[in-house]
Symmetry: C2
Subunit: 225 residues, 2 copies
């Protein structure tokens, strides 16, 4: 893989923001082992985590989803920059797709990552915390899905995104996905997402510069569930 500065920087941060000397090797070894792939919007990228491989999102985002017999799509997980893919047991009923053009992913085969984990404790710790992160995301999402109103779901989604995308000091966030994606992620209808957004806008909780650029005006809107 090309050693793009971003990539070096990302692994460095993931392994340890302060990066003591002992972990510089781990960083170099991860960069050496990584095999970068690049994807366009809506392109299926299931293959990258076949056979137990593991991958780290370097740019863009990846959605993991299932299709119901009804045709209904359910987005199970949204994997953004710095998150890892591939801890779940491979399941033919789940699919992976790039959410945006120029989504970039660093892939590691199962053997490579295990070899790295044995040699470098930092890598092993990173794998464990990434798996724990995946569990945390799923648990949280499960809480959001079940038995709360559509307004709560949208609010929770905005709150989570504000946290995970952590952008500039301003409270403006650019949503990585469309209304349709949000709907399939939250398990509600597009129309409901749209209506809820307008309702939030009308009551002054948010402002919509464009449908995708949102500024959170009422911080209390982000309060925990």
């Amino acid at each position: 893989m090309q050693e793009t500065p971003q990539c070096t920087e990302l692994f460095r941060t993931l392994l340890n923001p302060e990066m003591p000397d002992a972990e510089v090797d781990a960083n170099a070894a991860m960069i050496a082992a990584a095999r970068e792939t690049r994807w366009r919007r809506n392109q299926p990228c299931d293959a990258v985590i076949a056979r137990g491989a593991v991958a780290c999102v370097l740019a863009g985002a990846v959605r993991k989803f299932a299709l119901r017999p009804s045709g209904q799509r359910q987005i199970i997980d949204l994997v953004v920059v710095g998150d890892f893919l591939g801890f779940a047991p491979a399941d033919p009923s789940f699919f992976l797709e790039a959410v945006s053009n120029d989504t970039r992913i660093a892939c590691f085969t199962r053997e490579e990552i295990e070899r790295l984990a044995t040699r470098f404790p930092a890598v092993s710790a990173l794998m464990q915390s990434s798996a724990a992160g995946a569990i945390r995301r799923l648990e949280h999402h499960l809480l959001v899905q079940s038995r709360i109103t559509a307004r709560e779901k949208v609010r929770a989604y905005l709150a989570e995104m504000a946290g995970r995308m952590k952008t500039a000091p301003s409270k403006a966030i650019t949503l990585p996905i469309t209304r349709y994606d949000i709907a399939d992620h939250l398990g509600i209808a597009v129309e409901t997402v749209s209506r809820t957004m307008t309702a939030l806008r009308r009551r002054g909780s948010i402002t919509l510069r464009t449908p995708r650029d949102i500024e959170i005006r009422d911080a209390s809107m982000l309060s925990e569930i």
Copy 2:
């Protein structure tokens, strides 16, 4: 911990059903490191996985849940015999409780389990597959929660339980939890669970010997989502 035959047998099975000589040591080491605790119905057992500890359910079952400000309880995960607890990052908003009297759990501190994992590849593999199992359960549960009818949810719950409890050749299963628990697990109202069960009974898909003892008469009811 007392080396009860069940416990020995359980770890043996988890590590590897065939258990070659190389893994007998791993089995013995796990038994030696385990610290058994015993719980009564509805007793909180959060403490066992504090500070990153890991635990294996030996008997009974444990529910993991959150409480909403509304008082609404959401059961996030149902951990039964052979499953492991403790891969998720500790989160004060989640609670653990024993579901039945005489729920027994084998606990390992973070250090113990890591030491075992370094020494025995089989233990390391078990931890990885347990974490993957937790992710699988959550992903599956998420599919069940979102955007499907109450009937589908109940059907999926029965199907999952039939699989996870795998009892005798007959299709009779004894539900480990009450209607209220099922409702909070599926994110629907108790009344709806009850109504759905009766509907299934009336159409001949299941028979209820008692509310908790269910026989599945129509195997097609268990078909995948």
